[in-house]
Symmetry: C2
Subunit: 545 residues, 2 copies
């Protein structure tokens, strides 16, 4: 038997478009001799549909689309399509997260997800009722255990503390499944693929059954799905792996031994992050209908890396860089940006902001009489720039990218409605040190980012001779404290025990807390770490502690 | 036996402060002869602590604070304190949502929440493991059934479709509880109190046991808890009700018959909404450390109502209204605002924006050469105003309130980084028609809002002779369509069947969809309806449908 893992890039809510992707994939699988096709989780609806799932119209239309798809594929191999189905019970959530088997022109069977994640970015208990128990598919003389995403993430030997009392894979094995398949929509966390394959290998070996895993690929708002669908044999050996960050069709033979093709992995985290962000920008623009993007170029490393990613994602001809120097901008800031733009092949324009600064100063002079200059005047500059960029975005129908990094966003070293303006925050989940290392990695391939940008001291250039390090601890220290606090949820005492100065730790944690109101209004940021600001970071604003 | 329902206004994360509120309440309850005190859900931590619950340091400190509170109250009546406790199990979520009984200087027993809501604004499955089963407290010869918030919201006769298979109240009754108490943190939905009391009455009557219900009061970010703790007797009759929108201590005697005091209710929805928004503004400012607020006064009804609410919440001397006329502003817009400010007793200043508009026009002229004026130029004006207001906010440490209503926010009739700028969106959950009716209600008490503001055609005044109705359907129609779509999740076909024009419905629903990116970056808005934009509205941006 030959099984096709159909790794597609779906769009949330685009039932027709997603059905077409599935149909094309099934036809191609047929040409390659597959008898069963496995799609990603919720492949018909796109992942995550979120509260679209609460709209009856959407559920009905999905059901109608599924029926049409079944009829269209009447003469094709069977396919497991991910979709939400109605829960027939009289209590509980109204839906189930399901894999529906289409064969011979009809819906033949439905299998439901057992484990519904509610951590990080997930809210599945909001919508779905769990499956009542294991349900094995008998197909072409094989007993196939169907699982969905989280169902494979709860092995009680692999994890120190399983999140759920039930292990659906163990239950499927006990119910006689010879092979386990998994429909997945597992978002990227840099380095996660190793863990995934190790876990699947452990489980396959433990249960003595092969596992075939189809993952989603593509960017959907803040989440980037990395693909890399794979198969491990009953001994736990990886025998097939699809491409990362691209659509793919991975054919796996079950007999005489499990076999497939293995795509090589780029092992460097910088390479993985680069590909993820390129895909994230490209898909966000495509799925929201933008053909071009723009961004402010400050002469710093953040906007340089963002521009390089944008150029690769959109094509350099569809990227506009905007220099907006003030009297506080260094000589190099415009010159370095011009060089960067030329190297990348993107368009650029310069709009000095001094006159607008003057008009604000004049307008506010009566109200500000007798008050000293402070951060207010810095923010006014940043917001003039935000206004200019949004004006260009509005006039030309171009998506504004924000350029702030995770370190800044953590401690609030950014201006709400100023440099935070934009529709997508490209590097908002990259700590500053990672911004440097991804930039250096990018420059090894082609040295587009001028050396001056890579080596100058980071500065917001909002007052004379300002540098970030006037206000913040050195970034190598800051980033390590933030990682412990944000990704690992560690309290201050623990962080101090790791060798950081108490005063620094307490100051950083305080800054993180008081910047909450800014993050609440931030643009969606592409997630690449285990915990990004966004749907996986849910903090009250009005709080002590 | 005498039980005290301690309705307090907690602050999220303020363990010491909340413990003090509890201690003071217990001492007062003792003076009034109570033998047991019931606090709201998670009263020690404040509700909702959200991802603070993932920080080990917070959990440990809460536990230590609880120990100190127990010792402090060694000679006081017993008190049920709401807090998160560690789940001793080896699988599952690490915490439980608990009511811990403090008595004689120690933690005597702990009771856990069974039903963990994951709809609307709730994410409790993210943090908590459900209680294993019913657990009845024996205290002073009584068998008291302890339940927490959602536990009372799943009666299988009262609801058409219970959300959970378990009914914890039925289980407590079956386990021998003579009286049911509930620790609650139930946020306001206008009109919900009637439903609450009806439901509690139904359950008390059905099980033949009194129910005593302690609710939280106060604003916490977007959520407003309305208090109105109450008690119903075994026959289902309401015998006690605490104040709405204020702290209170409600004493309930169990013998010889259940008895207490009943605070009168303001039955008009406008009165309820007014009180809620005043409390929401006051608490947001207080809990984030602001003593004063400011807002833009456009001459329209939205900013007028927001100013009136702010004046009542903060005291008029702590409110600044800012008029920022442009060449497109009507004669009346500044004059009406001046009158409004004088009537309310708030300060006001005027900053014309024409010169700043000119400086932007000039700066963008090269880039915009050959292009016609469009919405871009309107947005520039709104963003100049946003920049001015934020500058005043930054300079004077004053909280900027945004003034947009729910109808605008639904269809995107607002400018991101412009009129959407601010820390708290006061009337963001009020449809425009409700803005009018609350304003008229307010004016009946004291006619501070000039008649001209109440009667003029709504206009953004961003181009000559503009009115809202040039771009939008009449508000009475728009609001009804939006209510069906947003609060009731109805698809377009259903809405059309209610008698609205297809073209209008489809246009409105399309506008709602494409405005998603704006709402994602909106300030927190005070919730008063069953579904507000905010944590209860989780929509993908990049989507079809």
């Amino acid at each position: 038997m030959r099984i096709a893992l159909l790794q597609i890039n779906t769009t949330v809510g685009d039932l027709e478009g997603n059905a077409s992707l599935i149909a094309e994939g099934v036809l191609e699988s047929a040409r390659q001799g597959a008898g069963l096709v496995i799609t990603p989780e919720l492949s018909l609806m796109g992942y995550l549909p979120r509260d679209l799932l609460m709209n009856e119209g959407f559920i009905k239309e999905a059901d109608a689309t599924l029926g049409r798809l079944a009829r269209e594929l009447v003469d094709s191999p069977a396919v497991l399509v991910g979709t939400a189905t109605e829960n027939p019970g009289t209590t509980g959530r109204p839906l189930r997260n399901s894999a529906v088997l289409l064969a011979g022109g009809d819906r033949v069977a439905a299998f439901h997800k057992t484990l519904l994640p509610t951590y990080d970015v997930f809210d599945e208990d909001r919508y779905f009722e769990p499956a009542p128990g294991p349900h094995v598919l008998e197909w072409q003389g094989r007993r196939i255990g169907i699982s969905i995403c989280e169902d494979v993430w709860n092995d009680r030997d692999f994890w120190q503390r399983p999140r759920y009392p039930v292990d659906p894979i163990q239950n499927l094995a006990a119910a006689g499944a010879e092979v386990i398949v998994n429909l997945s929509a597992s978002p990227l966390v840099a380095g996660k693929q190793k863990l995934r394959e190790k876990m699947l290998s452990h489980m396959a070996h433990k249960h003595g059954r092969p596992i075939l895993y189809t993952n989603l690929v593509g960017g959907n708002d803040d989440l980037i799905f990395d693909g890399r669908s794979c198969a491990v044999d009953a001994g736990g050996k990886l025998v097939a792996r699809a491409k990362g960050f691209a659509e793919d069709l991975l054919i796996v033979d079950l007999d005489p031994v499990l076999a497939g093709r293995i795509e090589l992995e780029q092992s460097q985290p910088e390479a993985e992050i680069w590909q993820a962000l390129v895909l994230g920008v490209r898909d966000y623009a495509r799925k929201t209908g933008f053909r071009s993007v723009l961004l402010g170029l400050s002469g710093g490393i953040d906007s340089a890396l963002t521009a390089a990613i944008a150029a690769e994602a959109m094509g350099p001809e569809n990227v506009l860089g905007v220099m907006m120097p003030s009297p506080y901008s260094s000589q190099g800031s415009v010159a370095d940006s011009v060089t960067l733009a030329a190297n990348l092949g993107i368009r650029s324009i310069t709009i000095p902001i001094e006159k607008m600064m003057g008009s604000f100063e004049q307008a506010l002079a009566p109200a500000f009489a007798g008050r000293k200059a402070d951060v207010t005047e810095e923010n006014i500059q940043a917001r003039i720039r935000g206004n200019l960029l949004m004006a260009l975005s509005n006039k030309f129908g171009s998506l504004l990218l924000t350029t702030g990094n995770k370190s800044e966003l953590s401690v609030g070293y950014c201006t709400l409605y100023g440099d935070m303006s934009g529709g997508l925050a490209v590097i908002a989940d990259l700590p500053k040190m990672m911004v440097y290392s991804v930039s250096r990695w990018r420059n090894q391939r082609k040295p587009d980012i001028p050396a001056a940008i890579l080596t100058k001291a980071p500065s917001a250039e909002l007052r004379p001779d300002q540098t970030d390090q006037d206000s913040l601890p050195p970034y190598d220290i800051l980033d390590r404290i933030l990682e412990l606090h944000i990704e690992q949820n560690k309290p201050s005492e623990y962080i101090i025990e790791q060798g950081f100065e108490r005063a620094t730790v307490e100051r950083v944690l305080r800054l993180v807390k008081i910047a909450e109101f800014k993050r609440k209004q931030a643009a969606p940021g592409l997630k690449v770490t285990s915990r990004a600001f966004g749907t996986g970071w849910r903090m009250p604003i009005a709080r002590k502690m």
